[in-house]
């Protein structure tokens, strides 16, 4: 049974000196030679920036500011953990509590203190075996090749390893959702549930209903799950999404509020609550949540100037402009060299001075915002750019506003929720028909480009057609039709010319992009199959 850790780089994160000693002793007796210790979460992150570890053992209840979960969240967010690394959470309690605050990031295993040598070695051995077994699937997932990952998953299932079976079925179902084949995923979850009522499979079935647009069914499933498993945070998160998709922001807010009460340490959930409360003008909740986000953000890689701007805006909406200005000062101090932060701050400053009736100062702040916007516009988050467009309009710079809105609609034409935000803003501030006309015009431009590319292709000018679509993608990286046509043409090109691995890679990258932006399985699967046939041909 004894494993040998000689070649492994191991990080021990533990604030208690005696515990640390014991861990070092145990790991040393298992052959561990490369052992690094960190007594706080912040030091752990630094250590992970310097070395790539194979095994991380992390205490959950770290003294100081970061919990073990935040260490894991930050490590994943900053991509400090190699795909095949093992992260084990060590805790004093039973694991149910810990799963609470986790959103996406779950450790590979939990260990409950006190830990014996045999326990640690058994767990590390099992985790290693599992990681090795799943490496082919996880590596493809990490590269965004979901069809290939699914293929490996099915192959492993055929080998009928009972120990891995259920775990593989879970990954298979998740991947099937990822590529958008919801009916198949539904069948997979139903088969699992037929065998045994498992909460994750029931949750999966709920998410399938969500993706199929059956929001009532999804909401019922998530609510049932919460009744039976009051601490299942994922069920809350999905319930919130389903309410939002139905356009019922009030219900979404109340579900999210319950979730945050259960897991107040989760910064992402607090952030979401703050934004939703802000949007629905529940200022008291928004104030509380933004304040919590800022506090949690002090020790998190996920801090953002948007949190400060959000809080300042809530103060402004609550008629407390001076409080808002104080928050802006903090924002400026905390993010001195961040253009996004400076733009957010300048925009709000301008609004605050306008509210105070101080036109000159408002104009000055607006001037700052304009300069920053010209320099950095394209790299800024779309919500911020929409806000900028509004401010430009309100300050009388119609041309700049038109240009910005045109670009926003063009790059986000397939993002229904955001287009709705654009329409709302235009309807409120600019005029009823403005957004409608703009969208119509952008759609026409798109159609023209597509027709042009397709015509060139039909005339046999493949290079010309590829050129057209490449330019189109550069300007509209998230447009469904453009990406789809691009893939089709590359595949056609592959059929009529000699095998070319570069073209295959290029087509695969566009297919992955298509999955990433949520294009349905029905549109992609046939192209993937065709591409696979070239890939197999090249291998032979």
């Amino acid at each position: 049974m004894a494993i040998n850790l000689t070649s492994k780089k191991i990080l021990i994160i533990e604030d208690n000196a005696s515990m640390r000693e014991t861990m070092i002793h145990i790991l040393g007796s298992l052959g561990g030679r490369f052992l690094i210790t960190a007594e706080s979460g912040i030091n752990a992150i630094t250590a992970m920036k310097i070395d790539k570890f194979d095994i991380v053992l992390c205490d959950y209840n770290l003294l100081g500011k970061k919990t073990g979960q935040q260490v894991l969240d930050d490590a994943r967010f900053l991509k400090l953990l190699p795909v095949n690394a093992i992260f084990i959470m060590v805790t004093g309690e039973t694991r149910q509590e810990l799963v609470l605050s986790a959103i996406d990031n779950k450790p590979d295993d939990y260990l409950i203190k006190p830990i014996s040598k045999d326990q640690l070695s058994t767990r590390i051995e099992r985790c290693t075996a599992r990681k090795q077994y799943l490496a082919c699937v996880e590596n493809e997932m990490d590269s965004g090749n979901f069809y290939q990952a699914l293929h490996h998953c099915k192959r492993l299932l055929e080998s009928d390893d009972k120990k891995m079976r259920l775990h593989l079925l879970k990954i298979q179902a998740e991947l099937t959702i990822k590529i958008g084949d919801f009916k198949a995923a539904e069948q997979l979850y139903e088969n699992i549930l037929y065998e045994r009522e498992l909460p994750w499979a029931r949750l999966g079935l709920g998410t399938v209903a969500f993706f199929l647009g059956d929001y009532d069914q999804a909401i019922e499933t998530f609510k049932d799950l919460i009744v039976q498993h009051p601490s299942m945070m994922e069920a809350y998160d999905w319930l919130v999404k389903a309410h939002e998709a139905q356009g019922n922001d009030d219900n979404a807010l109340s579900s999210l509020n319950s979730a945050v009460n259960l897991s107040p340490m989760s910064i992402l959930r607090q952030k979401k609550l703050a934004m939703l409360a802000d949007k629905t003008d529940n200022l008291a909740i928004a104030h509380k949540a933004y304040s919590a986000v800022i506090k949690l953000g002090k020790n998190s890689a996920q801090k953002s100037p948007a949190d400060f701007a959000g809080l300042a805006n809530v103060y402004l909406k609550s008629n407390a402009p001076n409080e808002a200005l104080k928050i802006l000062n903090q924002l400026n101090l905390r993010f001195q060299n961040d253009p996004e932060a400076r733009l957010r701050s300048a925009l709000l400053e301008s609004e605050i001075h306008l509210t105070n009736g101080n036109k000159e100062l408002a104009q000055l702040a607006f001037g700052k915002a304009s300069v920053l916007n010209e320099q950095f516009s394209k790299n800024l988050p779309k919500e911020l750019r929409l806000n900028m467009a509004k401010t430009l309009y309100l300050n009388g710079d119609k041309m700049a506003c038109d240009e910005m809105l045109n670009d926003l609609v063009t790059t986000n034409i397939d993002n229904k929720l955001f287009v709705k935000d654009i329409v709302n803003m235009c309807d409120t501030f600019i005029g009823q028909n403005y957004a409608m006309l703009l969208i119509k015009q952008v759609r026409k431009e798109l159609a023209d480009i597509n027709n042009n590319g397709v015509n060139l292709f039909l005339e046999g000018d493949i290079k010309g057609a590829l050129d057209v679509f490449e330019k189109a993608i550069a300007k509209r990286p998230n447009n469904h039709t453009v990406i789809l046509n691009m893939v089709k043409i590359i595949i056609h090109d592959l059929k009529s010319s000699k095998p070319d691995p570069d073209k295959i890679i290029k087509a695969q990258a566009y297919i992955n992009k298509a999955i990433e932006i949520g294009m349905p399985h029905t549109q992609i699967s046939r192209l993937q199959t065709e591409l696979d046939s070239f890939q197999n041909a090249t291998l032979q």
């Binding site: 208690n16 002793h25 004093g92 694991r95 149910q96 014996s116 040598k117």
Partner: protein, 223 residues
């Protein structure tokens, strides 16, 4: 002074004590390293008592959560052999200090749906006790009996006292406070067993003195 919420205070204190206990345990293992060969017999008692305290505190916390309906199991499919291996691993420090033998027995292809954390903790408590009461050996086995996977613990001690013998699937009485023994471990394992449900079948436990070695026998049935 403002009214205190005694229940909350108790829970946070138990948590705190549990952390201290983990540190204590770490200190004991460090001390143990000072004796490379023969370790003083007191270590065995220390190990047994810290295990016992730790298991009890964890069970109290869990039972409290069940009482508040803040609890649900984390069910997954587990290999029975892995569960036995985990129990043996957790008990290994204590075992290494005495002459008691822990044997485990299970087919490699036996799987069961359960909350492994709680089942392992329950079995550890029982094994910890069995080591205290047996003469030389404890057998922990897993097998399939009809629709149930059964974890069975048998020892060669003097067997359960009369008041703990039962096969009627009822929690042994807590009323016997005069002896100072609350049977917390049995209450806990029974409660956890009953939370394991499949359709209309529920988990349960039995206790008798029909061990193949002549001592106590405990069985945990999971659907």
């Amino acid at each position: 002074m403002a009214a205190i919420n005694f229940s909350e205070l108790l829970v946070s204190s138990v948590d705190d004590i549990k952390n201290s206990l983990a540190t204590l345990h770490a200190l004991i293992s460090q001390l143990k390293n000072n004796y490379p060969d023969k370790k003083p017999p007191e270590f065995k008692q220390l190990e047994f008592e810290t295990n016992r305290m730790n298991n009890s505190l964890m069970q109290l916390l869990t039972l409290h959560k069940i009482d508040l309906s803040h609890f649900s199991l984390t069910i997954d499919e587990h290999s029975a052999a892995d569960i036995l291996e985990d129990v043996a691993a957790q008990q290994s420090s204590l075992l290494s200090l005495g002459s008691i033998q822990l044997l485990t027995q299970s087919q490699s292809d036996l799987f069961c749906y359960c909350d492994a954390t709680h089942i392992i903790n329950a079995l550890c408590t029982l094994v910890n006790n069995a080591q205290h009461y047996c003469l030389s050996k404890v057998l922990l086995s897993a097998s399939q009996e009809g629709d149930y996977v059964v974890f069975c613990l048998e020892d060669d001690g003097t067997g359960y006292p009369e008041d703990l013998l039962r096969s009627d699937q009822k929690v042994p009485g807590l009323e016997d406070t005069t002896t100072g023994n609350t049977h917390l471990g049995l209450v806990y394992v029974e409660t956890i067993a009953q939370l394991h449900v499949k359709a209309d079948q529920k988990g349960f436990i039995t206790t008798d003195n029909n061990s193949q070695f002549g001592g106590a026998r405990f069985k945990l049935y999971l659907p």
